[in-house]
């Protein structure tokens, strides 16, 4: 059952009201403007044993995403395409409020938001991931681990996912006459085929003020968030209202406009950082 969360670590009331009153003046405790995104750092290929990986720092939020390619069966309705599985875990290292154990509803929601954005935009060219068409295909496992939590986990995870996918390469496979498949991970044939790029942009709302990329303190005062997946060609590739409150029609349209603008600049940043790494 999903239940109203108790605030994990309660932001003291005084601090909370200060944050809100400053937000109403357009000022954030970190000195950022309402529409300023925190700095993004990417360490591409951070994990040797992954087929692709990226460690992302978004301010003090740290996420590592890794891709593993495994040989599996295709879905019955797409026999000639690869398959995708996205998981996320909030590690107990990231916050004293995170318990070890299977993903909770927040981690599941995060994984599914990212999964949908990749799937709907066809970010990965699945048609190139069949090994024996109709029988054996690459299954792309994306695992996302939040290591340090200072807010906006969805965007940080979405950036780490994009980074990991762009870092992924296909190992060489040999299929013998009896259909046995041998994977040789020491030889890399080509990068994972990518059609499009996507990131999410999270717009938070507190006391009728909209602002992007909330940190942990700001999340504790936000009534709700709109998470907007944005493609490199500036389309909306997914939406999720997340959190207790509501949004007016005009707030939604404002948030969309903010996201479309911010999203494409993040995609550019990620692309150039990975190219130069």
């Amino acid at each position: 059952m999903s239940h109203t969360p108790s605030l994990g670590i309660i932001t003291p009331k005084l601090k909370a009201s200060t944050i809100v009153s400053m937000l109403k003046k357009g000022i954030r405790s970190s000195g950022r403007g309402l529409m300023d995104y925190r700095q993004v750092e990417i360490a591409s290929g951070y994990v040797r044993n992954a087929d692709g990986s990226a460690l992302v720092r978004l301010g003090n939020t740290v996420v590592v995403a890794g891709v593993k390619l495994e040989i599996g069966s295709p879905y019955p309705d797409t026999p000639n395409e690869g398959a995708l599985v996205v998981n996320a875990e909030f590690m107990p290292t990231a916050s004293p409020t995170f318990e070890p154990g299977p993903p909770d509803e927040n981690a599941i929601e995060l994984a599914r938001i990212i999964d949908r954005s990749l799937r709907e935009l066809k970010v990965i060219d699945m048609s190139k991931l069949a090994i024996i068409p109709g029988k054996r295909v690459w299954v792309v496992y994306i695992d996302i681990y939040v290591l340090d939590h200072d807010g906006n986990l969805v965007d940080a995870s979405s950036i780490a996912t994009l980074g990991a996918l762009m870092n992924t390469s296909l190992p060489r496979v040999e299929v013998d006459e009896t259909g046995n498949i041998k994977v040789d991970r020491s030889t890399r044939l080509s990068p994972l085929p990518i059609n499009n790029k996507v990131v999410t942009v999270t717009v938070a709302k507190a006391d009728n003020v909209l602002f992007v990329d909330p940190d942990l303190d700001e999340e504790s005062v936000a009534e709700t968030k709109l998470i907007i997946a944005v493609s490199d060609d500036r389309r909306i590739a997914g939406l999720q209202k997340s959190g207790i409150g509501g949004l007016t029609e005009s707030e939604i349209m404002q948030a969309i406009d903010i996201a479309l603008k911010t999203g494409s600049s993040i995609i550019e940043t990620v692309t150039s950082k990975i190219a130069s790494s």
Partner: protein, 241 residues
């Protein structure tokens, strides 16, 4: 399965509806005996039962909050409600939707009235033909009202889709499966807020804006039906007294 034609040459949909037309909608309130409140809501062949227990004490005392009631919500599909039999193990989809539906209801429930209690909302999808989460919001909202929980407004939902390039209201399973986008929306009309919004698919800014307006219009029609169902319920109670 091959994709069928979803918009026919006459502009009508595969089941004969116009793009902005709802399916037949039925609602009955107060149909269970042991729950504090209940409702059965049908959007076409989608059939959703919601029951509310509470406000009540619960053994999981660590969940309780000092200044308000905790809302707990479970969205659950009966195994035979779907085309393929659904395994009884909760899916990640069910877990996500339980959260999304709870968050759609939170803004209207005046939970401060009952601190240190739980209000439990159980949603059973009896038959799934598209739009189950939005029908669930409507049913849950009616069950909460039937339980006498104080509320600022009813929340009602409906899904908009893009099929064969056309934006259509209240999509069914076939339109969901073969369409290009599915956008469930729930609103609290008197409060003027959207409390559930998801998009599964890709839309331009303009398409989105149009889709949102289509959803709001459809939800307002459902809102009228929901208020009527509640009125019927109260009438019936009064008559029974």
């Amino acid at each position: 399965m091959e994709k069928p034609k979803l918009i026919k040459e006459n502009g009508l949909r595969h089941d004969g509806r116009r793009p902005n037309e709802l399916r037949p909608i039925r609602m009955s309130v107060g149909i269970l005996n042991k729950a504090s409140g209940s409702a059965l809501v049908e959007y076409g062949e989608t059939k959703v039962l919601a029951a509310v227990h509470g406000p009540r004490e619960i053994p999981q005392r660590h969940l309780l909050l000092p200044d308000r009631a905790v809302i707990r919500c479970r969205y659950h599909m009966l195994s035979f409600s779907t085309h393929e039999r659904k395994s009884p193990v909760p899916t990640r989809r069910e877990i996500e939707l339980s959260k999304v539906i709870r968050e759609a209801l939170e803004p209207v429930v005046i939970s401060e009235t009952f601190p240190r209690t739980a209000i439990d909302v159980f949603i059973e999808i009896i038959n799934a033909d598209g739009g189950t989460r939005t029908a669930a919001v409507t049913a849950a909202s009616l069950a909460l009202a039937d339980a006498g929980i104080p509320m600022k407004d009813l929340v009602v939902g409906v899904a908009v889709g893009k099929v064969d390039g056309v934006l259509v209201l209240d999509i069914d399973e076939e339109e969901d499966m073969f369409g290009e986008a599915d956008m469930p929306v729930a609103i609290a009309p008197s409060l003027g807020i959207v409390t559930l919004l998801q998009l599964n698919g890709v839309l331009t800014r303009e398409e989105f804006s149009e889709a949102l307006r289509l959803a709001l219009a459809g939800a307002n029609l459902i809102y009228e039906k929901a208020r009527e169902a509640l009125r019927d319920r109260y009438m019936k109670v009064r008559v029974e007294e």
